[in-house]
Amino acid sequence: MGAGHAATALSQMVGRPIGMSITQVQILPTEQIAEFLGGEQADVAAVYMPVYGDICGVVLIFFPIDILPDLAGLLLKRDSQANQELSDLDRSAIKELGSILTGSYLSALYRFIHVQMIHGVPTLVIDMAQAILDTVLVDLEQKDDFAIVIETRLTENERRLTGRFFLLPEAGTLPKLFNAFTQSIETPGNA
């Protein structure tokens, strides 16, 4: 349901209908994230945002680098050209997309499990998957906890672009999140 709201927000932003669907949700140990993204040395793009509230942590939205020109094209209403250098405007549009997706997921989480979170300013990084994770894990001072992964597909006409949303809670806060999930399941009508 987070994806539904985000799709509406995005369609308004770009002025044409954009479909969005959640293709997969899972809990992943942090040491498996790099593998999940295609290996430690895989070059990826990530929109990074700090998250504050009942649970603090970091949101990372990963996109394969080869879809970035397409993604920017979709957002900025122009045809994409392959191997095109990203302009400042492109980078800004991709960050905005990250921000919209995150806002929607966080409000969906609030409706589901009553955990309130807001996100900070997005940054776009393009680097090795492991180097991005390395830095984020240092910030969170965690190494062997878990992340929540939500895979999302954006569609517009024949374009299909997949991004992966990761919520990495600060060390030791995942039990809090699990408790909230358990409570919302045990109390029918909350969702």
Binding site: E31, A34, E40, Q41, D43, Y48, P50, G120, V121, T123, V125, I126, D127, M128, A129, Q130, A131, I132, L133, D134, T135, V136, L137, V138, D139, E141, K143, A171, G172
Partner: protein
């Protein structure tokens, strides 16, 4: 016997003897501390996450902190029969990848590098070369036989230090 590459993951430490090699993939704000003795061919690599333990960690992981990791590196090599006075070091990493939103004048990558340097200097181990800071992640391959270190980053040529 063909040489083996030993991968050193985040907060890990390993020793190896030439012709074996040590590697670390995706150093972001973490620092790879490479220490070696050319004469015996023994070397060690740590993948340090944070400057100092300071009672910070819930679980004591020595490889995580600059102070405890450098102490371990030296102790392990001395135990292998290496003379501490012959040890030399190189440092790689400590990037500030999310620079744009971190207003901290001393981001963790920078503090990691400073702490590693200090711990090595304290023990009289010279830092012969380093590639630190910047905004790009790095992967490294370390050869204990002569201390050479190969560095790779995205969209940049490979280089040896």
């Amino acid at each position: 016997m063909p040489e083996t590459d030993w991968p050193v993951g985040i907060a890990e430490m390993k020793t190896a003897r030439s012709p074996d090699r040590l590697s670390a993939i995706g150093l972001g704000s973490c620092v790879g501390v490479a220490v070696w003795d050319e004469e015996s061919g023994w070397g060690a690599l740590a993948h340090v996450m944070l400057p100092a333990q300071n009672g910070l960690s819930r679980v004591p992981v020595r490889g995580k902190f600059a102070d405890t990791a450098v102490e371990w590196l030296v102790a392990e090599l001395v135990q292998k029969g290496v003379d501490q006075g012959r040890l030399k070091a190189k440092l790689v990493g400590g990037a500030n990848m999310f620079n744009a939103i971190q207003y901290n004048p001393l981001p963790v990558g920078t503090r990691n590098v400073m702490a590693c340097r200090e711990e090595l200097t304290k023990r009289g181990i010279p830092v012969l070369a380093e590639e630190v800071g910047g905004t790009k992640g790095r992967s490294i391959l370390f050869l204990p036989q002569d201390g050479r270190l190969l560095i790779r980053s995205l969209n940049q040529p490979e280089r040896w230090i």
